[in-house]
């Protein structure tokens, strides 16, 4: 057979890993555990769970400074992007302004090739293969630990990142990446519920538990939830007053499973990340939604006048999902210099404004006060609750990386949900 089959190594013959991880793999064994054994291994009651040996999980109360391995070197300072080279970017669809990309191409003479993914799992698989040599990637901190551990990231050379002073102070040295060794914040967003008053009669914001509206059979076949396992499942936990949305308690996970399946049977929701076009198109009237999508809704509404029907709700006490996405330079990329310039440009005030105008997701920059957004007319009054304020980060709950066993348990629930069984 052509090619060299890998012998019983934990990775393919093409990937070279540090010896540490090889040993760990040998200890962990090469089998995927079943759910029953997973849940029993999780143990009951513990709300933070215990990560397995070597798994570092950053949290607001557990800040992490990532190690820098010898495998991937920082680039030298003072270089400029090679004209005519290609910069490969890997991101969600509609998450980077085409205007900005065109301007970047002209400014530096590089060709930008933007590839898209539907969810972070798929992205991780493509990146792990290393074949596609992406330069820039936009993860969130729930996969940061794995990316660092698998040595997929290139440490950033801050000599190129002159614009970091524009950032909110709290994100300049964040808990998930002390020293900003590998990441730069990209956008901030919250997760709430968006709806159209012409298709939904209930005053969702006025309900005692607005999350319940997603189970209200009056709106069967008229709802959607996010096609992102952790975001959707966290919403179910929040509905039940469980604010530890990274819980490893098997009882909580079982409860989430039950309610998700119940929702699917009675409501038949769409499971998608296309809320920003589908809600305006009238495919459904009520959806779990990211705040950036909500802000983007008016642009996609067919008739400019009917923007007034749009609404967004986020918990008043601020205890909802609040996160920020990151931009990183991948070690496998062939154009790290251009990648650094790209990351730096994203922090530029004017460029961030252009980007925001297209994506609807706020950049965490000082110039960009959220209060200004509504006042200056970027965001209509009826969607004012979609704007993320800095104090929301104090009270909001972030989606963190889960320990391997819990991660598998959550994924299994999601798999059952998506299998339609």
């Amino acid at each position: 057979m052509a090619g060299e089959p890998a012998r019983r190594a934990p990775f393919t013959g093409r990937t070279a890993l540090a010896r540490r991880t090889v040993l760990r793999a040998a200890l962990a064994g090469a089998a995927a555990p079943g759910l029953a054994s997973l849940l029993s291994a999780c143990g009951g009651g513990s709300s933070t769970g215990s990560p397995s040996a070597g798994e570092t999980i950053p949290a607001p109360d557990n800040p992490v400074r990532w190690p820098i391995s010898d495998a991937n070197e920082m680039i030298a300072s003072g270089l400029t992007p090679e004209r005519g080279s290609t910069l490969r970017i890997y991101n969600y669809a509609s998450y980077l302004s085409p205007r900005f990309l065109k301007d970047f191409e002209e400014k530096y003479g590089v060709e930008i090739r933007l590839s898209t993914f539907n969810d972070a799992d798929e992205a991780l698989t493509k990146i792990a293969s290393k074949e596609l040599a992406f330069d820039v990637y936009f993860p969130s901190y729930d996969s940061l630990g794995r990316l660092v551990q698998a040595e997929l990231l290139r440490p950033l050379n801050h000599d190129y990142l002159t614009n970091t002073g524009n950032l909110w102070p709290r994100l300049r040295d964040p808990w998930y990446d002390r020293g900003s060794r590998y990441t730069i914040p990209y956008t901030i967003y919250s997760t709430g519920i968006g709806w159209r008053t012409d298709m939904v009669q209930t005053d969702v914001a006025g309900m005692s538990n607005p999350y319940d509206v997603l189970w209200d059979t009056d709106y069967a076949n008229n709802t959607a939830i996010l096609d992102d396992w952790h975001t959707a499942m966290a919403m179910v936990l929040l509905r039940n007053g469980i604010f530890d949305i990274n819980t490893t308690d098997p009882q909580h996970i079982a409860m989430v499973r039950e309610q998700l399946l119940d929702m699917r049977h009675t409501m038949s929701p769409s499971v998608t990340i296309g809320m920003y076009t589908e809600l305006p198109a009238g495919k459904y009237g009520l959806a779990q939604m990211w705040s950036g999508d909500a802000i983007n809704l008016p642009y996609y509404m067919p008739d400019k006048a009917s923007v007034d029907v749009l609404r967004f709700w986020f918990p008043e006490d601020g205890r909802g999902e609040v996160d920020n996405d990151l931009s990183v330079v991948l070690a496998q990329g062939k154009n790290p210099v251009a990648a650094h310039f790209f990351l730096n440009d994203l922090l530029d005030d004017k460029i961030a404004e252009t980007n925001f105008g297209y994506t609807g997701y706020q950049p965490p920059l000082l110039q960009f006060t959220p209060e200004k957004l509504v006042a200056d007319g970027y965001v209509p009054e009826n969607l004012a609750s979609a704007v993320v304020l800095e104090k929301d980060f104090d009270r909001g709950v972030p989606l963190l990386q889960l320990p391997a066993a819990a991660d598998a348990a959550y994924h299994q629930v999601w798999q059952e949900f998506k299998a339609g069984g």
Binding site: A9, A128, R264, Q415, K418, A419, G420
Partner: protein, 303 residues
């Protein structure tokens, strides 16, 4: 007509001609199935949970296989619904395809006359119109503010705002019919075309009504073609997932193709995708043997 293989002196030519293709099929169609097995019975790396194949059958680990098996026939069979749904949708869609394709093929074969060429061209047209374009066209029409609802609203008489694209099995089945019916028309036409007109005219001359002619002459003669076209249409449908993705955003209509698509790129679940692939292979084997036998029978009759 299996006589000596061609003019003398060329006996070694035929194996030589066939060999590159056979090597290709062996290396790139048959052998990769073993890779699928190696991944299904292999493991997962601990950090990124990418699949790690195990080549020696002695070392095969059945965990992933048992996981899929347990969730098809065990106490928590959450995969079973998708499998059953696949059989139901494909069966329904194939029958509907037949109901549509048979009259059209029959008309083209028997009554088209001078128009047979252009008609056949129009029937073949969907083959070179991208499947995606045809599905996209239907998504456009079926949207809440699309042409179908507007037509049904009859210019304001009614207010039809049906959500056709919100997880309706009927939309998915009709989508499958729309997508695959061209595949059925061609072999049906070929089979019906072969029925000599003289036979049918003879039946009519002998006093049979239209229905009796159909029931006792046309249908039995066209049965092999019907079997072949049913297989050629329904087997590829088994692996379809994109029709469901485009016409229904809901997991309530997911098919086995969706199970594969959801798991093949998800860390930790790639081996399960291998299990579903093997399941499709096994389920297709019997109809495939029927198909092979009918094509052999067909060619024997021809010569």
């Amino acid at each position: 007509m299996a006589e000596a293989a061609g003019p003398r002196g060329t006996r070694w030519l035929w194996p030589l001609l066939a060999l590159p293709g056979m090597v290709w099929i062996g290396l790139l169609f048959i052998a990769p199935l073993y890779v699928v097995l190696a991944i299904l019975f292999g493991g997962v790396d601990p950090i990124l949970r990418q699949p790690v194949p195990v080549w020696n059958p002695v070392d095969w680990d059945t965990t992933q296989f048992r996981y899929v098996w347990d969730h098809v026939v065990g106490p928590q069979p959450f995969f079973r619904a998708a499998l059953v749904r696949t059989v139901v949708y494909v069966g329904l869609a194939s029958l509907l395809c037949l109901l549509v394709a048979y009259p059209v093929a029959y008309f083209t074969a028997r009554f088209a006359g001078r128009w047979k060429g252009p008609l056949l061209f129009a029937l073949i047209a969907p083959f070179w119109i991208s499947y995606m374009m045809r599905m996209l066209a239907w998504v456009n029409l079926l949207q809440a503010d699309g042409l179908l609802n507007r037509t049904l609203s009859a210019g304001g008489l009614f207010d039809v705002h049906t959500h056709w694209l919100n997880g309706r099995p009927s939309t998915v089945v009709l989508g499958l019919v729309y997508g695959y019916v061209p595949y059925m028309i061609l072999p049906l036409f070929a089979g019906l075309d072969r029925i000599p007109a003289a036979t049918l005219e003879a039946a009519r001359d002998l006093g049979a009504s239209r229905w009796e002619t159909f029931r006792r002459v046309t249908w039995p003669l066209s049965r092999p073609a019907v079997v072949v076209s049913l297989l050629v249409t329904s087997l590829p449908m088994l692996g379809d997932y994109f029709t469901n993705d485009l016409l229904s955003g809901s997991p309530n209509t997911s098919m086995i193709g969706n199970l594969i698509n959801n798991s093949v790129l998800t860390p930790g679940q790639t081996g399960q995708a291998g299990a579903f692939v093997m399941l499709i292979l096994l389920v297709s084997v019997i109809p495939m043997l029927i198909y092979v036998r009918s094509t052999r029978a067909g060619t024997d009759v021809q010569s």
